[in-house]
C-alpha cells in the first residue's frame, strides 16, 4: 500500500475501531441506550445518524472557506438540523413503522454529539473527500456499536433476532433486557468485556 492509500484507509477505519464514538469516546449515548431494544430499531437509528453525519460533514467541508470561525457553531447546527429534518420527513413517508418506534429520537439526532463533534474536529479542517470518508467511518462505527447492543438485547430480552425466534426451549427470555434498565446493564457488561479483552491483549504483547 502506498502512503496515500494507507492514510485514506486510516481515516476510514479510525471511527470504526480506534475512536469508536460509543465504545471508546462515550459520546452519542442517549440514542444508543434508548433505541437499542431490537436490532431493527438500532440499525435504523444507526443508518439515519450515519446519513446525517456524511451529509453534514460534506456540507461543512465544502462551505468551510465561507464559514467565519466566530459563528461556526451556530452554522454547523443549522446544517445538521436541516439534514435531520430531511431524514425525519423521509422516514415518516417511507418507513412509518420505524419512525414511530424511534419516536422523539429522530429529531434528537441533531444534538448527537458525534455529528457536531466531527464537523468541528474534522470536516471544518479537511477537504470534502476526506470529510465524507471520515463521516462514513464514524457512521459505520456508530452503526456497528448500536447494532451490537440492539442484537444482544433482542436475543436475551425477547428471544428473537430480526423477528426470528432463536430462544432455547425451556429458557424464558429475560424481559428486563428490553426495558430501560437492561440498556444500562448490557452496555456496562459489554464495556467491561471489551476492557478485559484489551487488557489481556496488552498483557500478551508486553
Amino acid at each position: 500500500m502506498t502512503d496515500k492509500a494507507r492514510f485514506l484507509w486510516h481515516t476510514l477505519t479510525n471511527g470504526i475501531l480506534k475512536e469508536n464514538p460509543i465504545l471508546r469516546l462515550m459520546i452519542g449515548l442517549c440514542p444508543t441506550l434508548a433505541v437499542s431494544t431490537s436490532l431493527t430499531d438500532a440499525f435504523g437509528m444507526g443508518v439515519a445518524t450515519a446519513c446525517v453525519l456524511v451529509g453534514s460533514n460534506l456540507t461543512v467541508s465544502l462551505l468551510r472557506a465561507f464559514i467565519p470561525s466566530g459563528v461556526r457553531i451556530p452554522i454547523f447546527i443549522v446544517v445538521v438540523s436541516t439534514f435531520v429534518t430531511c431524514i425525519d420527513y423521509l422516514m415518516q413517508a417511507y418507513l412509518p413503522a420505524l419512525h414511530q418506534s424511534l419516536g422523539i429520537f429522530v429529531p434528537l439526532i441533531v444534538v448527537n454529539c458525534v455529528i457536531l463533534g466531527r464537523a468541528e474536529a474534522f470536516a471544518y479542517r479537511n477537504g470534502p473527500f476526506l470529510a465524507v470518508l471520515d463521516g462514513l467511518g464514524m457512521g459505520l462505527g456508530f452503526i456497528l456499536a448500536i447494532s451490537l447492543l440492539g442484537g444482544i438485547r433482542e436475543i436475551i430480552g425477547n428471544g428473537t433476532i430480526l423477528g426470528w425466534s432463536v430462544a432455547i426451549t425451556g429458557v424464558d427470555p429475560v424481559l428486563l433486557m428490553i426495558l430501560p434498565p437492561g440498556a444500562f446493564l448490557a452496555l456496562g457488561f459489554l464495556m467491561a468485556a471489551l476492557n478485559a479483552i484489551t487488557k489481556k491483549r496488552e498483557g500478551a504483547h508486553s
Binding site: 442517549c30 429534518t85 422523539i104 434528537l108 430501560p180 440498556a183 444500562f184 456496562g188 478485559a196
Partner: protein, 195 residues
C-alpha cells in the same frame, strides 16, 4: 382525559425519569457525576435553562410556527432558540448575578447540546400540553434530573473506595449502577396513572 397537574409533575419526575427511563441528557449524567456538589450545580443550571427553553419554544411553536404552517421548521428553530437563550442567560447572569454565574460556571454553555433540554421541548409539544401543563411538566422533568444526578453522584463517590474488579473500573460499573437505579425508578411506573 386530561391528566392532573400533580400527576404530570410526579410522572415526569420519577416514573418517567428523564435520565433513567427516557435516556435523555446522559452526557452530563456520566460526565459530571463524580462529586455531589458539582452534580447539584449542574442540576440547578438545567432546571433554570430547561424551564425557560420549554416556555420559549412552546410559545414560538403555537404562536409563530403553527399559524404560519411552518411546523416542519421546529427542529431548526428550537435548537437555535435554545442556543441563543443559553447565551443570553449566560450574559445576563454574568452582569447581574455574578455569584450565581460563578456557581453555574462551565455548565451553562455545555447545556446547549444537552439533549434533555431539546427533548423536553419536543415532548411538551408531542403530548399536546397547554402552557401551564408544559411548565409543570418541565419542572417535573428537571427535578427528576436533579434527583437522579445527585443520587448517582453520591453513590459514585462511595464507589471510589470500593474494591472493584479491574475490568469494571470507571464507566462499566457506572453503567451497571445506573441500570440498578433505573430498575428502582421503574418500580414507580403506573403509580400516577400516566405512562
Amino acid at each position: 382525559m386530561t391528566p392532573s397537574l400533580v400527576a404530570i409533575l410526579f410522572s415526569a419526575m420519577i416514573a418517567n425519569n428523564v435520565l433513567l427511563i427516557r435516556f435523555l441528557g446522559l452526557c452530563p449524567f456520566f460526565g459530571v457525576s463524580r462529586r455531589v456538589d458539582t452534580a447539584f450545580s449542574m442540576g440547578m443550571a438545567v432546571l433554570f435553562v430547561m424551564t425557560m427553553a420549554t416556555s420559549a419554544s412552546w410559545l414560538i411553536y403555537y404562536y409563530l410556527l403553527a399559524p404560519m404552517g411552518l411546523e416542519f421548521l421546529r427542529t431548526v428553530v428550537f435548537i437555535l432558540v435554545i442556543a441563543a437563550l443559553v447565551q443570553m442567560v449566560e450574559m445576563f447572569l454574568k452582569k447581574v448575578f455574578p455569584a450565581l454565574y460563578q456557581a453555574f460556571g462551565v455548565y451553562l454553555p455545555l447545556i446547549t447540546t444537552n439533549c434533555a433540554i431539546l427533548g423536553t421541548a419536543f415532548l411538551a409539544i408531542n403530548n399536546h400540553y397547554d402552557f401551564l401543563q408544559a411548565i409543570v411538566f418541565t419542572v417535573g422533568v428537571s427535578l427528576g434530573f436533579v434527583l437522579a444526578l445527585v443520587m448517582f453522584a453520591g453513590m459514585r463517590q462511595r464507589l471510589e473506595y470500593a474494591p472493584i474488579p479491574e475490568a469494571f473500573k470507571g464507566y462499566p460499573l457506572a453503567f451497571i449502577l445506573a441500570g440498578l437505579m433505573s430498575l428502582s425508578f421503574m418500580g414507580f411506573a403506573g403509580m400516577f396513572g400516566l405512562h
